[in-house]
């Protein structure tokens, strides 16, 4: 507390006249100053700037290490017989199954029809979600009309719609695409309409003082400001589209990854099931990378610290 005492303005005598009082502080302790604090020995340390030595492993390599360890443990469990092939095959068996599925074209054609479904569903779902969000975000009446029903529909788990979709649309491609579209519609709707509504009013006002028309404000202020949210919505929609695909392909499909999995299930081919799961994971990963690249490209104006 002694240093606080020193800062006490009462304790420091005011310089009466700066022209005469330029001499260094007198040796006599000032009133209120505890004399022992000035010049008393304190502990100091020299800061070490030297690099700490440590084992240097390239980052990608150390990340792969965890995967390699898990694979090793899996292989070990399979080889020793503690992991039965009826539960799940060894990594080697899964690898062989993958090579086989790829070489006879089975995986390729399944992937093609799954991708076709997802893309079709996404086109409709994203278009509907973006369209509804624009209507509800950009006009008060639009919000009143669109938002409440969409919010109600959103609370229905889309998987629960499967029986209804089958009754309405049969078991062909249509219910599958519709299910994916429905699932993808909501995340992008919620994020985009929220993003539009959370535009900074100060910027809208600035746009008005710059002489922008209503359309100009939407184009130059509102939509760019909602873009980060739109991309968040896009990422969520793409993620949920894969989920919907898995469910959709359980509906009596005759092609696709889901079909491959359900036939493998009947034949107890766990290797094939694992291969399909890995493919799903890789697809999800690819989509995520694409959206991240899109974010880097479109949101380059954001300071790095805020970057996603």
């Amino acid at each position: 507390m002694t240093s606080l005492t020193r800062l006490d303005p009462v304790a420091v005598p005011l310089a009466q006249d700066p022209s005469t009082d330029i001499s260094p502080a007198p040796a006599v302790p000032r009133p209120g100053v505890v004399a022992t604090t000035l010049g008393a020995a304190i502990e100091v340390e020299r800061l070490d700037h030297g690099r700490r030595r440590r084992l240097w492993v390239p980052r990608p390599l150390s990340r792969l290490l965890g995967v390699a360890l898990a694979l090793g443990a899996w292989q070990l469990a399979s080889s020793t017989g503690s992991l039965s092939p009826t539960v799940v095959g060894s990594p080697r068996a899964v690898w062989n199954a993958a090579v086989h599925l790829i070489s006879d074209g089975e995986l390729g054609s399944a992937l093609a029809s799954s991708l076709h479904r997802v893309l079709l569903g996404l086109v409709f779902g994203l278009a509907a979600g973006i369209g509804l969000a624009l209507v509800s975000g950009l006009s008060r009446i639009g919000e009143d009309i669109v938002d409440a029903p969409v919010q109600m529909l959103r609370t229905v788990p889309f998987v629960g719609l499967v029986p209804l979709l089958i009754v309405w649309l049969g078991v062909g491609e249509t219910p599958k695409v519709v299910l994916i579209a429905l699932a993808a519609c909501f995340p992008i709707y919620l994020n985009l309409s929220g993003g539009i509504r959370s535009v900074d009013p100060a910027l809208v006002e600035a746009g008005r003082t710059l002489g922008l028309s209503r359309l100009g404000i939407v184009r130059h202020v509102v939509l760019p400001s909602a873009l980060p949210q739109l991309l968040v919505g896009l990422r969520l929609s793409l993620g949920i589209a894969w989920l919907a695909l898995v469910f959709a392909e359980q509906i009596s499909a005759t092609s696709g990854l889901g079909y491959l999995m359900s036939t493998a299930q009947e034949l107890l081919q766990t290797d094939t099931i694992v291969v399909c799961l890995v493919v799903y994971a890789l697809l999800g990963l690819t989509v995520d990378l694409v959206v991240r690249a899109l974010e880097r490209l479109l949101l380059s104006w954001r300071p790095r610290a805020v970057g996603v």
Binding site: L203, T209, L210, G211, H220, P224, W301, R302
Partner: protein, 236 residues
């Protein structure tokens, strides 16, 4: 907002009132600002001076009374309000029909910011962003420039430079200026006329006829400063 006439006043307000709910912010206020006149509007926080500026800017739809203002007007706010997703030069010419990079660079040159034309607004310092906002106002060649505490958020040293810049630009382009501020020295440094606002009215209107450039040593400066501070309820 419809009829256009030519006249020598940039702003003429006649018996305008504005209230928020049952709280009157501006009550039966008259104000004239001549073309090319630099007017500073002083007042404590909450006295209605920013509301008055918004009315003059045409941003307030609920005002009653007669408001006639220059058609070509530009506003610079306390926050620069640049669009973060547009590069600086695009911000400058946004909303100016037919203006491109050349016009933007010319305006940015006037505020000594040409070298930052291609930067993102988020990378500008506070002073740079405020100067970019000033360039954005200038490029519109306004007959009326509205400044809402434009230097409030700047550090003391940057503020002096920015004030000097505004003084130079005003001398060169001669728009009418309405500067809202709570800084008496800023008003005395820049304005032809200082108004003091309190409780929704202009309670004091004084000509600042000091020779330019003005410094603390200008004769009459101290007296005017004391007078304005007293009107604002501050005694030193």
């Amino acid at each position: 907002m419809s009829a256009t006439v030519k006249q020598a006043t940039a702003v003429s307000l006649n018996g305008i009132s504005r209230s928020f709910g049952d709280r009157g912010i501006i009550a039966d206020l008259d104000l004239e600002i001549g073309a090319g006149e630099f007017v500073a509007l002083l007042g404590a926080s909450g006295c209605g001076k920013s509301t008055l500026l918004r009315i003059v800017a045409g941003l307030d739809a609920e005002v009653t009374g007669e408001v006639v203002v220059a058609r070509r007007r530009a506003v610079s706010f306390q926050a620069p309000r640049l669009l973060p997703w547009k590069r600086v030069w695009r911000n400058v010419v946004l909303g100016v029909p037919g203006a491109g990079r050349a016009e933007a660079l010319a305006a940015l040159g006037e505020v000594m910011l040409e070298h930052r034309a291609g930067a993102w607004p988020a990378t500008l310092s506070g002073g740079e962003a405020q100067r970019a906002a000033l360039a954005r106002a200038l490029v519109r060649q306004p007959d009326l420039l509205l400044l809402d505490e434009p230097f409030g958020a700047l550090d003391a040293l940057t503020r002096i430079t920015a004030q000097q810049l505004v003084a130079d630009l005003w001398a060169k382009h001669a728009p009418a200026v309405l500067l809202v501020t709570h800084d008496v020295d800023e008003a005395l440094r820049l304005a032809d006329r200082a108004l003091v606002m309190a409780e929704g009215r202009i309670v004091h209107d004084v000509a600042v006829s000091l020779p330019r450039p003005r410094t603390l040593e200008s004769s009459g400066y101290v007296g005017l400063r004391r007078e304005l501070l007293a009107q604002l309820g501050v005694t030193e």
